[in-house]
Symmetry: C2
Subunit: 217 residues, 2 copies
């Protein structure tokens, strides 16, 4: 029984307008921005660490990390070499365009080429709130199981790219990749996917190439 009340639609509409303003700001500064979404523990922060470490020589990078609590993620992004801003949402289960706008105000945008935004770990709520980033990326994780596209369609159907992380665990887990991929294809035909392991670095080159073809240093 989905509950839809008008106030929610108004909030979403206001959010979309702010997201557009964020996009304009990013475009004017020549920044390519990615919104990374995933369940808790799927590997968002680790992927950001790898991306920053590998691209810091060519691009000026920043990471904005959204979490319920702590600055663990921003600390890790900063240690990897990015300018890092932590957003603590209190109890809110997703980032929104207001939060991104406030975080952008803390950055010197004209000194940046690439912005990685880490959303709150959640496979439901972030799907409904555009931030103004150029690409929305979902990170799936092998241990989550192969049925997630079927059970969380809202998140899978609108993203621009899919990272499939922790493929090093495939030998130890019952995960039917064909079943998973069929679910993705039903929701988001032709979606570009990057099977990777942040642990072994397998597949990272293809992901980094996708970032580089979208961003300009």
């Amino acid at each position: 029984m989905p509950k839809r009340i008008p106030v929610v639609e108004n909030i979403l509409s206001a959010n979309d307008q702010l997201a557009q303003q964020n996009r304009q700001q990013l475009d004017q500064a020549g920044i390519f921005a990615v919104n990374l979404m995933a369940s808790p523990g799927a590997g968002k922060t680790t992927l950001i660490e790898h991306t920053v470490q590998r691209l810091a020589g060519e691009y000026r990078l920043a990471a904005i990390d959204g979490d319920i609590a702590t600055s663990i993620d921003a600390d890790r992004a900063a240690a990897a070499g990015a300018t890092a801003i932590q957003i603590n949402t209190g109890g809110q289960c997703h980032l929104d365009a207001v939060m991104l706008r406030d975080a952008l105000q803390q950055l010197d945008l004209h000194q940046l080429d690439l912005l990685l935004v880490e959303n709150v770990g959640n496979l439901v709520c972030p799907a409904d709130f555009k931030l103004g980033t150029h690409k929305n990326v979902l990170i799936a994780s092998i241990p989550e199981g192969d049925d997630k596209p079927y059970k969380y369609p809202g998140m899978y159907k609108d993203v621009d790219a899919l990272v499939i992380n922790k493929i090093d665990l495939l030998p130890y887990i019952d995960f039917d990749m064909d079943y998973f991929r069929r679910g993705v294809e039903l929701l988001n035909p032709g979606l570009v996917a990057f099977p990777i392991s942040c642990r072994t670095a397998q597949g990272l080159d293809e992901w980094l190439l996708w970032i580089k073809t979208n961003a300009s240093p």
Copy 2:
């Protein structure tokens, strides 16, 4: 920047009242009810399957499965031997007391001893909505990482028991159990924890004993 507006408090208060009514209904029927919460893919459904298979000889069991979409979980609980009801929440990121009340109306409560409620896969939203169950149980999963208590404190601080699933993956993952346990202890001192593997059945006996000491057949 947490956003607190009065309408949310009113919704929570109304939910709490309905949760009390659900509890009364369960008590009158002599049912012990557990609310299982976790990230997507942490093993809620699999734990329900094992619990049903192992206890079906002694207890009359039902499972109520909350999901954004599909009846995959209820189908699995039914196949394991429980009376199963699926709740599809549409986009809502958690169950609430209204949804449980509606589901209870579909069950013959006086023919049941034990009710397992599977919440929506989410490590944020379910914490705020009591259902009226006797115990709230959180399932953590080793591949999610050892920092989750620190990053999702709302979920860890109020639960009555913690299941730590997928311990068979410990050899393949960097997971510091001491760091994890210290985070749990800070939020919820003395919380009873069950390290298990649904894949190998390790630790399941202790979990089942906890259920049996709470439920009466």
